[in-house]
Amino acid sequence: MQLTVWTYEGPPHVGAMRIATAMKGLHYVLHAPQGDTYADLLFTMIERRGHRPPVTYTTFQARDLGKDTAHLFQSAARDAYDRYQPQAMIVGASCTAELIQDDPAGLSEAMRLPIPVIPLELPSYQRKENWGAAETFYQIVRKLADKDVRPAAREGRRPRANLIGPTALGFRHRDDIIEITRLLDSMGIDVHLTAPLGASPADIAQIGAADFNVLLYPEIGDTAVRWLEKTFGQKTVRTVPIGHGATRDFIAEVAAVAGVDPALALDTSHMPWWSRSVDSTYLTSKRVFIFGDATHAIAAARVARDELGFEVVGLGCYNREFARDLRDAAKLYGVEPLITDDYLEVEDAIAALQPELVLGTQMERHIAKRLRIPCAVISAPVHVQDFPARYSPQMGFEGANVLFDSWVHPLVMGLEEHLLTMFRDDFEFSDSAGASHLGHGHAAPTAPSPFVPSDVEGQAANTAQGVSTSLDTNGSVETIAEPEGWSAEAEKELMKIPFFVRGKARRNTERFAAEQGLSAITLETLYDAKAHYAR
């Protein structure tokens, strides 16, 4: 058993729902107890869809357990077919139904519905949401793709690509498709099929008619694309076009695969100039911590270092399926890869590294808020505000513009930072004025919590006692002896440092004192440490 409060991913049947909801003309009959319909509201509320997800739940209750549940499944499947008349159905079990061992595959086969019915095996106690989505899409493609379909002869037509991977509840999938479709169009390439988002089973049947595949989201589409390579010989463009450089690499790869001139692609990016302009100088070597799904985290690391001039101090992902890719990327930046689905480990890593910017999921946003570190969201899971009304792709040239704005805004702008330092004793810049410029609203300082380690809060609260008690991720209590502590004078000086770098200054000073074997921290120690760590 694993003790958890927060999960980065839902169960695998939620992944299957993401595929079903993305598609048209497909219906999902899910053998599940009463209550599992909660997942509907992820789509109707977070993604703000105006339709119910095309999912029928058997909603069995305790009194149905026994022979009745199999019958319940069949009548639910029958009713769903009669009512919705889908082109194809997927059927499967949620975690509880997996335990009662009705067989959706056999039960639906026995019904002999006049449409393709695709049974799903989603092991709920081993796998998670992304895996469920990938497996579901793969099974749909495998079952529905017409193996005799091949691309028409190339003479006199534009090359055609499939865009593979976008789903319902995907982070910015809606706008990424628009951006990439536009980009391909500027190169003279047509999108034959986007799937699963917006595709029908009939569309999937024609998937083989494209010349090649563009894999936008490996977490969702990798399994299906491998099968398409094998079955149809379609090549795959694997560069994920997130960031200016990656978009250019993407264009080069597409051009090579499609046999077109890469110069046709229209570069509409402001990012290189924005990043070179002098107001961005203060971004140099800002220390950034990156966490999310592997695809977005790896892409973000490249943008952070190569295109914004940040220093990547931490890189991690929550989906183990792509751990190898993330480890390889971490080597490029000389950091320890962090592969975990335990948010407490992520919190510990952030607290220990004291980055100046966190790029992560909504969980990291809350961790960063607590630690008073600026943060931007780069990856699912995300909350409703990250399914925006406005156009905001992550991919392509417009995506690069969006990344620049959304990552830089939480940081204090260069001129503003300069003024803050100059006028730090002015009342507008005092602590009590709050952190509204961090992009989190007007956050009052949070009360220190004795149960969650937080270096910024914890040490401030415990300095007077000389001992701090914190909990590591295993839950054991460890007692850390601290130096005699800060002299009143040094403490006062520390408070003059703007709050958003104060945590780091405190930490650096204490580490310096410990290394030097100093038991007391004086004004001298503070400035010695500042000199020591100057960069």
Partner: protein
């Protein structure tokens, strides 16, 4: 100074409404797909009420994901609930499962030494594999006594719907309540978790009425469990507490039958039931409640114009539907078309039902597709439903009020009556305002 209040009882001098019989056959019972939460969801508000309790769900990733989705932003505030996620290896053998649970609980209690009461909450997976959580609770109670008491209940979807999770939780507390001392004077117990602000209002009113001692179930701290016995009179503050009421009655306590305290009339009737049971003078009762009652009526009046005559359709969710429909009909003049409830407790709901119009369809259970067909046919002015249905119905041009808010917002009592009416008036006002 205080004018004698005309309590708007339909007949007679007391507050008892005239009961109109509704036959069993009047109730539409349906089975089919249900679009409802499971009882685990109750944890979201219960853990805030009992300040030193922790709710540990023994379930799957789905359970954890549900809590996360339902708790929204609350998940990040180091809440006092979590899920022990059953994994593949736990399913291999039962002994292993119990050892694993002990390990998780040990770790949790080390991490949270402030916890005094731990609920092991059963889920669909734990019920289906027949993991005996009551034995686990006993074993762990022994191990961690006297610091921590460990109890268990089921919040599984196969057994409980949404607010029934609170019922199961409170019912699990009843056997461990201390017995009232022999020869104790009659005491009043308010049963059902209420927001602190509402609970305080009620406690003040009872004090002014001269009713006491008054206890609350659940109490705000685990150590303050209220005593129970034959001299305990209890008022249900919530309509979904059938099992808890039965357990209290098993211990000799007596339920005071009343309307539920929504709106001016419901609250008056509810308080009056206690006043009568404790022999409070009628004039005194009226003078004590007059200011609150007047305020409630004034506050409700703001919404009357917008809501009167409007047709409302309730989909089943929390069992609050019938008392709320009664309030909206009785005090705001709304016309309930269909009032759906996940479970109908006839005895507790008898007085409420009697006040609903005879042509209102009462439905118990759900076949969601068929019920939505009825909604579309009726084209109600306002449809009360869950968040999975609200936006899709809005997209079809129907105005909705999402039901979960009614469970999380303070809506009971005189001083929340205006807010309660406003919750229903606001979607209609917004519908009329928007020009997009």
């Amino acid at each position: 100074m205080t004018p004698a209040l005309p309590l708007t009882a339909p007949a007679g001098g007391d507050c008892a409404p005239v009961l109109r019989e509704r036959n069993d056959s009047d109730v539409l019972r349906e089975r089919g797909q249900r679009e409802v939460f499971c009882g685990l969801t109750g944890i979201i508000w219960l853990h805030r009420k009992v300040q030193d309790a922790f709710f540990l769900v023994v379930g799957s990733r789905t359970c954890a994901h549900l809590l996360q989705s339902a708790a929204g932003v609350m998940v990040f505030a180091e809440p006092r609930f979590g899920t022990a996620i059953i994994e593949e290896r736990d399913l291999a053998g039962m002994a292993d499962c119990n050892e694993e649970l002990d390990r998780v609980v040990d770790r949790l209690l080390t991490r949270r030494p402030d916890i005094k009461l731990l609920f092991l909450v059963g889920s669909c997976p734990s019920e289906v594999i027949k993991l005996d959580l009551s034995r686990a609770a006993q074993r762990l109670s022994g191990k961690h006594s006297p610091n921590v008491r460990v109890l268990n209940y089921s919040g599984s979807g196969i057994e409980t719907t949404f607010t029934e999770g609170e019922d199961a939780c409170l019912a699990s507390l009843v056997p461990v309540l201390p017995a009232e001392p022999a020869g104790a004077a009659p005491a009043l117990m308010i049963v059902g978790a209420l927001p602190d602000v509402v609970e305080d209002q009620f406690l003040r009113l009872f004090a002014q009425l001269g009713i006491g001692p008054v206890h609350c179930l659940p109490a705000r701290r685990a150590a303050d469990l209220p005593p129970v016995g034959p001299n305990t009179r209890f008022l249900l503050a919530q309509p979904f507490l059938g099992e808890t009421a039965r357990s209290l009655e098993d211990r000799g306590a007596q339920r005071l039958d009343a309307l539920f305290p929504f709106g001016a009339e419901g609250t008056t009737h509810w308080l009056h039931a206690a006043a009568q049971a404790f022999g409070i003078d009628e004039m005194h009762f009226r003078s004590v409640i007059a200011p609150g009652r007047e305020r409630a009526k004034r506050a409700i009046d703001h919404c009357r114009e917008r809501l009167a005559g409007k047709r409302i359709f309730f989909l089943p969710d929390s069992q609050l539907e019938i008392p709320l429909a009664r309030f909206l009909h009785q005090e705001l003049g709304m016309a309930p078309i269909e009032v759906g409830t996940p479970y109908l407790h006839r005895r507790h709901m008898a007085q409420e039902l009697a006040l609903l119009p005879a042509d209102t369809v009462i439905s118990e259970g759900q076949d969601v597709d068929r019920q939505l067909d009825r909604v579309r046919l009726a084209q109600p002015d306002l449809t009360v439903c869950g968040l999975g249905l609200a936006n899709p119905l809005e997209a079809e041009g129907l105005t909705t009020k999402w039901a979960i808010e009614l469970v999380f917002s303070p809506i009971h009592g005189f001083d929340q009556a205006g807010d309660l009416a406003e919750l229903f008036a606001r979607p209609l006002r917004r519908r009329d305002m928007l020009r997009v």
